[in-house]
C-alpha cells in the first residue's frame, strides 16, 4: 500500500471520526471499542441467564423436600449455571475490558488483529446457542457437573455432542482473544511504553493470555477424548478398556486450575488501577506486583490435584500438591499487602469503583483463607464436595472477581460513555450487593462444615434454617444486580458530562483521551515518559 493511501485514510478518520451505521457496525466490527462493548453486553446478559439458574437452585433449596423441579433438572441447573457464568459471563467480561482498555492504555490505535477480534466475539453467541439448546433435547441439558467427569457425563443423551462442541468453540474463541492481546501488547505499545511502564491491568492480561494459550488446548483435548469415548469406541476413561476415569480429572484440572487464575487475574488488574487512583498515591511495589502475578500464574500449573485429593493418590502425591497449594498463599499475600500499602497514608475517597475494590480486598481474602484451609490435605478430606467448597469458590468468584469487574465498569463507564454515572445508585448497588452476598455465601461455610454435601437438591431438616437465610440472601443479591443495569442504561443515555481525566487521581494514557474517546484513537502514537506512565 502506498504512503498516500495510508495518509488519506488517517486524515479521513481524524477529521470526521467516521462510524459505520446500522447492524453492520456491530456484525462486521473491527473496532476494539465496539467489540469490547459487545463482549461486555454479552457478559451481562449471560450473567443474568446464569443468575436465573442460581435462583431456581435457591428456590428448590429454600426448604427440605422436593417442591419445584425434578432432581435431574436441578442437576442441569447447577451444571449449566457454572458453565454459563464461567465461560459466558466472567471470561467475556474480562476480555471485554481488555478489548476496550488495552489499546488506549498502551497508546495503540486498535488491537493487532481486528478481524480475528470480530471472529472471537461472534463465536460466543453460537457456542451458547448450542449449549442452551440442550434444554429442549431428549435427555435434557448437561447434568453431570460443569467439570464433566466421566463416566457420568457420558450418560448425557442428545445434548452430549452439543456440550462438547460448545466447549470447543469457547476454547477457540478464548485462544484467539489471547493471541490478539499478546500480539497487541508486544507489538503496538507507544514509543516509550516499556514493559515495566505498562499499567498493571495490561500486565495481568498478558499473563492471563499466556495461561489461556497454555490451558485451553488441554481442555479441548480432554473433551475430545470424551467425544471419542462416547461415539467412537475408545476407552480413554473406561477401566474396562484399559483407561482410567481419574485421568480425565487430572487433565481437566490441569486446565481447570489455571482457569481460576484466568478469571481472577484481570480482576486483580482492575483493582490495581482503581486503588492508586482513589488513594491518590502510586501503586505500592509495582515490580513485585508483576512478579507476584507471574509467580501465581506459574505455580497454578502445579497445584491441580488439590481439586481431587479424595480420588486416592499416593501419599507423596498428596504431600506435593499440599505444599505447592500452600505456597500460592505467599505471592497472593504479597498482592494483598501491596494494595494495603498503596492505601496506607493516601488521601482516599470512596466513589463506587473504590468501594467495589475495597470489597474485593476484604472478601477475596475470606475466600483465600478458606482456600488455604482446603489446601491442607487431611482436613480437605472432610471439606471436599461440601458446601464449604461452594462457599470458598463463590467468595473468590463473586465478591472477588465479579466485584472487581463491576468496579472496573464503574471506573471506566464515564470514559466510555462521556457521562458520569449516578453515584448514589452506584453506592446503593455496592452496599446492597455486599450485604446480600455475605448473607448468601457466609452461612454456606457452616452448613458445609456441619456435613451438607454440595450438588444435592434436598437435605436433612437440620440444615433448613441456614438454607432459608442463604436463599433469601441469594434473591436479594440477584435483585440488587438490577440496579447495575439501571445505572448503566441511565449513564449511556445521559448525565453529567465527564472530563477527560474523570477521576482526580487518575493517571495514564486512557485519561488523556476525550470522554468518550473518538471511534479511532491514537492513530498517531503518543510519546510516553516516566512522568506520564502508570499511576
Amino acid at each position: 500500500m502506498s504512503e498516500a493511501v495510508i495518509h488519506d485514510h488517517d486524515s479521513h478518520d481524524d477529521h470526521h471520526d467516521h462510524k459505520p451505521t446500522g447492524i453492520g457496525r456491530w456484525l462486521f466490527s473491527t473496532n476494539h471499542k465496539d467489540i469490547g462493548t459487545m463482549y461486555l453486553v454479552f457478559a451481562l446478559i449471560m450473567f443474568f441467564i446464569g443468575g436465573a439458574m442460581a435462583m431456581v437452585i435457591r428456590l428448590e433449596l429454600f426448604q427440605p423436600g422436593m417442591q419445584y423441579v425434578d432432581p435431574q433438572f436441578f442437576n442441569s441447573m447447577t451444571t449449566v449455571h457454572a458453565l454459563v457464568m464461567i465461560f459466558g459471563a466472567l471470561m467475556p467480561a474480562g476480555v471485554g475490558l481488555a478489548n476496550w482498555m488495552i489499546p488506549i492504555m498502551i497508546g495503540a490505535p486498535d488491537m493487532a488483529m481486528p478481524r480475528m477480534n470480530n471472529m472471537s466475539f461472534w463465536i460466543l453467541p453460537f457456542a451458547f446457542t448450542l449449549l442452551l439448546s440442550t434444554f429442549f433435547m431428549a435427555g435434557g441439558a448437561p447434568a453431570g457437573g460443569w467439570t464433566m467427569y466421566p463416566p457420568l457425563v457420558l450418560q448425557l443423551d442428545h445434548g452430549f455432542p452439543f456440550l462438547i462442541f460448545a466447549v470447543h468453540f469457547l476454547g477457540i474463541s478464548s485462544i484467539m482473544g489471547a493471541i490478539n492481546i499478546i500480539a497487541t501488547v508486544f507489538n503496538m505499545r507507544a514509543p516509550g511504553m516499556t514493559f515495566m511502564r505498562l499499567p498493571l491491568f495490561v500486565w495481568t492480561w498478558i499473563i492471563t493470555a499466556f495461561l489461556l494459550i497454555a490451558s485451553m488446548p488441554v481442555l479441548a483435548g480432554a473433551v475430545t477424548m470424551l467425544l471419542t469415548d462416547k461415539y467412537f469406541g475408545t476407552a480413554f476413561f473406561n477401566a474396562a478398556g484399559g483407561g482410567d476415569p481419574v485421568m480425565f480429572q487430572h487433565v481437566f484440572w490441569f486446565f481447570g486450575h489455571p482457569e481460576v487464575y484466568i478469571l481472577v487475574l484481570p480482576s486483580f488488574g482492575v483493582i490495581s488501577q482503581i486503588i492508586p487512583t482513589f488513594s491518590r498515591k502510586p501503586l505500592f511495589g509495582y515490580a513485585s506486583m508483576v512478579y507476584a502475578t507471574a509467580s501465581i500464574a506459574f505455580l497454578s500449573f502445579f497445584v491441580w490435584a488439590h481439586h481431587m485429593f479424595t480420588v486416592g493418590m499416593p501419599l507423596t502425591g498428596e504431600l506435593f500438591f499440599m505444599y505447592a497449594t500452600m505456597s500460592i498463599a505467599v505471592p497472593t499475600g504479597v498482592k494483598i499487602f501491596n494494595w494495603m500499602a498503596t492505601m496506607w497514608k493516601g488521601a482516599m475517597t470512596f466513589e463506587t469503583p473504590m468501594l467495589f475494590a475495597i470489597g474485593v480486598l476484604f472478601m477475596f481474602s475470606i475466600g483465600g483463607f478458606s482456600g488455604l484451609m482446603m489446601g491442607i490435605t487431611p482436613v480437605d478430606f472432610q471439606y471436599h464436595d461440601t458446601y464449604f467448597i461452594v462457599a470458598h469458590f463463590h467468595y473468590v468468584i463473586v465478591p472477588g472477581i465479579i466485584f472487581g469487574i463491576i468496579g472496573g465498569v464503574y471506573f471506566w463507564l464515564p470514559k466510555w460513555t462521556g457521562h458520569m454515572y449516578d453515584e448514589t445508585l452506584g453506592k446503593w448497588h455496592f452496599w446492597l450487593s455486599t450485604i446480600s452476598v455475605n448473607i448468601l455465601f457466609f452461612p454456606m461455610h457452616f452448613v458445609g462444615l456441619a456435613g451438607m454435601p454440595r450438588r444435592i437438591p434436598d437435605y436433612n431438616v437440620q440444615f433448613t434454617d441456614w438454607n432459608q437465610i442463604i436463599s433469601l440472601g441469594g434473591f436479594a443479591f440477584g435483585l440488587s444486580q438490577l440496579i447495575f443495569v439501571w445505572v448503566i442504561i441511565k449513564c449511556v443515555r445521559g448525565g453529567e458530562k465527564a472530563t477527560d481525566q474523570v477521576w482526580e487521581g487518575a493517571h495514564g494514557l486512557e485519561w488523556t483521551l476525550p470522554s468518550p474517546p473518538p471511534f479511532h484513537s491514537f492513530t498517531t502514537p503518543p510519546q510516553v515518559t516516566d512522568a506520564t506512565a502508570h499511576s
Binding site: Q72, R280, T310, W344, M348, F381, Q382, D458, F463
Partner: protein, 387 residues
C-alpha cells in the same frame, strides 16, 4: 434518600443480621456451625488440625482487616490529609514474604503428620468392601461372605417425591436413613475399600473423619477404628446422577459380641434367600414381594404409577417391554440399557422374578394383552436360565 441515611440503614442492617446470627447460635443450632469431632482417632486429629488452622486464619484475618479498616478511617481525603508519595519499601516487602512462609511451614508440619497417619492402612482386622451404584451402596464383608445392598429408607423415598405433600419432619433423620444399615464392631481396625459399578461416587461418613471416591474399575484403600458405639450417618459426596442426594450411609457401631451375633443372623438370612431361588412361587406371593422391590429399586425413575419421566425414563404402562415377550423383559432388567442399570448383580433370582412379574401385571399391563400369549408369571428358574 441521602447517602448518610443509606449509611445508617446499612449499619442497622449489619446489626440486625449479627443479632440474627447470634440468635440462631443461641437457639441450639451450635451443631450446624462446625465440623464434628467424630469417633475415630483420625477424625479427632482432623478436627484438631481444622481448629488450629481456623484460629490461625481468623487471627490473620482480624489483623489484616484491622489494619485495612484503620487505614480506611484515618487516610481519607475528607480528613484533609495530603497523600504520601512512597511507592516501595524493600524491607516491608521482604517481611511480608518471609512471615507468611514461616506460618505456612508451621501449618504444614502437623498436616503432614496427620496425613501420614491416615494413610497407614495395614494391620486391619477385617475388610469391608463398599461399591457405589446409581443410587445405592453395596457392602461386602470380605471375611464373612456377607453381602447386601443398602438404599434410602422406603418411607423417606415416599416423602422426597416431588409434590408428595408429606412433611420431611414426619420421618426421623430425613434422607439419612437406609433400609439395611452397615453393622461394624467398635475398637477394631477396619480396612474399608471403595469402588463403584457405574459412575464415580464418594463414600463419606463425617464421624469417621474422611471421605473417599468410589471409582469404577479401581479400588481405594482406607481404614477406620471406631471408638464409641452408636449410629453414624453419611451421604454420597460425588455427583453421581439424578438421585445423588438420595443414597445415604448408616453405620451401626456395636460391641464385638453384638457384631458376632449380627454376623450369624445375617448369614442365616442369606442362606434362606439362596434356598428360595430354587422355589416356585404363586402369583400372589410374587406380586406382593415385587411391589416391595419396585418401591425401592425402580420407583425413582419409572415413578409410582409406572408413568416414567418423559424424555428421560420410559413409562412401564403398556410399554413394548412390559407387554412383550418375557425374555426381553428379563434381559433388560438383568443387563440394563443406557441409563437403566444392570440388576443381575444387585438382586437375587427370587427378587428379580418377583419384580418382573409385578411389572407385567400392574397398571393393566396384563389385561391389555390377554390372549396374546403374554407371559404373566416369571419364576426364579426363568431368571436363572437367562443369566
Amino acid at each position: 434518600m441521602s447517602f448518610n441515611k443509606l449509611k445508617q440503614t446499612v449499619l442497622g442492617l449489619i446489626a440486625v443480621s449479627l443479632l440474627l446470627v447470634s440468635g440462631v447460635v443461641s437457639a441450639g443450632y451450635g451443631d450446624t456451625l462446625n465440623l464434628i469431632e467424630g469417633v475415630t482417632p483420625t477424625s479427632q486429629k482432623v478436627y484438631e488440625l481444622h481448629m488450629i488452622i481456623l484460629y490461625i486464619v481468623t487471627i490473620i484475618g482480624i489483623a489484616v482487616f484491622g489494619v485495612m479498616c484503620w487505614s480506611i478511617y484515618h487516610h481519607r481525603k475528607s480528613r484533609g490529609v495530603t497523600p504520601a508519595t512512597f511507592h516501595h519499601s524493600t524491607a516491608a516487602e521482604i517481611t511480608w514474604t518471609i512471615i507468611p512462609i514461616l506460618i505456612l511451614v508451621a501449618m504444614a508440619i502437623p498436616a503432614t503428620k496427620t496425613l501420614i497417619f491416615m494413610e497407614k492402612t495395614g494391620d486391619a482386622e477385617m475388610t469391608l468392601k463398599v461399591t457405589g451404584y446409581q443410587w445405592k451402596w453395596k457392602y461386602d464383608y470380605m471375611e464373612e461372605g456377607i453381602s447386601f445392598f443398602s438404599a434410602l429408607h422406603p418411607d423417606h423415598n415416599e416423602v422426597r417425591k416431588q409434590g408428595s405433600g408429606l412433611d420431611p419432619n414426619s420421618v426421623d433423620n430425613y434422607l439419612l436413613d437406609v433400609d439395611n444399615p452397615i453393622v461394624l464392631p467398635i475398637n477394631t481396625k477396619i480396612r474399608i475399600v471403595t469402588t463403584a459399578a457405574d459412575v464415580i461416587h464418594a463414600w463419606w461418613v463425617p464421624a469417621l473423619g474422611w471421605k473417599r471416591d468410589a471409582i469404577p474399575g479401581f479400588i481405594n484403600d482406607n481404614w477406620t477404628y471406631i471408638e464409641e458405639p452408636g449410629v453414624y450417618r453419611g451421604q454420597c459426596a460425588e455427583l453421581c446422577g439424578r438421585d445423588h442426594g438420595f443414597m445415604p450411609i448408616v453405620i451401626n457401631a456395636v460391641s464385638k459380641e453384638e457384631y458376632v451375633a449380627w454376623v450369624e443372623e445375617k448369614k442365616a438370612e442369606q442362606e434362606a434367600a439362596a434356598a428360595s431361588a430354587s422355589k416356585t412361587f404363586t402369583k400372589d406371593e410374587l406380586m406382593s414381594k415385587g411391589e416391595q422391590i419396585y418401591g425401592t429399586q425402580c420407583v425413582a425413575c419409572h415413578q409410582g404409577e409406572g408413568q416414567g419421566i418423559e424424555g428421560m425414563f420410559p413409562a412401564l404402562v403398556n410399554s413394548a417391554i412390559t407387554t412383550g415377550p418375557a425374555a426381553d423383559h428379563i434381559d433388560i432388567v438383568l443387563n440394563g440399557k443406557n441409563l437403566m442399570p444392570a440388576f443381575k448383580e444387585q438382586l437375587n433370582d427370587a427378587d428379580l422374578a418377583a419384580v418382573i412379574t409385578f411389572e407385567r401385571n400392574k397398571w393393566g399391563n396384563y389385561e391389555s394383552t390377554t390372549g396374546n400369549g403374554h407371559t404373566d408369571v416369571v419364576q426364579p428358574a426363568d431368571i436363572k436360565a437367562a443369566r
